[in-house]
């Protein structure tokens, strides 16, 4: 079903007993209890967690240890949550951020690089 690492030499056996469902951009997915959002989405074959606010380029997991914020999503209405650190609970609503209307970049074009 997914490429989850079931038997990890250090972490041991993955507890697959409790599965939960959550929604990502209004689509329902299933995952393991307390799995990180980023890992659950990856297991469901989703790597694009958000799009860059300015250029719209797809972004996903980068550091996966909560340092770079590339995986930031909106969880139950709270913005800027790190998908790689947030454990999943039943019925969590995850929404990814997208390109914003007004961009910052033209500011620099007008001021000459």
């Amino acid at each position: 079903m997914s490429q989850r690492i079931i038997n990890h030499p250090v972490l041991g056996k993955l507890d697959e007993s409790q599965t939960i469902t959550f929604t990502f951009n209004d689509v329902e997915y299933s995952a393991l209890q307390n799995e990180s959002i980023a890992a659950a989405l990856l297991a469901n074959g989703i790597r694009t967690l958000r799009h860059h606010e300015e250029s719209g380029s797809p972004r996903g997991i980068y550091c996966n240890i909560g340092h770079c914020f590339e995986c930031r999503v909106t969880v139950d209405g709270v913005q800027g949550e790190r998908a790689c650190l947030t454990p999943l609970t039943q019925g969590m609503k995850v929404v990814s951020g997208g390109k914003l209307q007004t961009d910052v970049r033209d500011w620099r074009a007008n001021h000459g690089k």
Binding site: H52, S57, F69, E70, Q79, G80, R108, K113
Partner: protein, 89 residues
């Protein structure tokens, strides 16, 4: 992926050639290079690209001790206004 479009600053998508060009054209100090290209002003607070921006700028200018160097600015992690001063009825 030629050398010139390597992304140095992921958050603001500033490329290597953009930084080199700006540094060469304006002989910038690191801080000035940051202000001109936005490299280091992104959501991660410049953690990923700070050193690269520093070294690119210092290729064309001498390290000037009187200049404020690029450093980590508080808050260490992004903080929403809600967390700062949320009004709870």
């Amino acid at each position: 992926m030629s050398e010139k479009d390597i992304i140095i600053c992921r958050c603001e998508e500033v490329t290597y050639s953009e930084l080199k060009e700006t540094a060469r054209k304006f002989q910038c100090t690191p801080r000035e290079l940051k202000l001109r290209t936005r490299a280091g002003m992104g959501y991660c607070g410049g953690r990923t690209c700070r050193n690269a921006v520093d070294s690119i700028a210092l290729e064309s200018t001498e390290r000037n001790e009187s200049q404020i160097s690029l450093k980590y600015q508080p808050p260490i992690r992004p903080v929403s206004f809600g967390k700062l001063g949320e009004v709870i009825e």
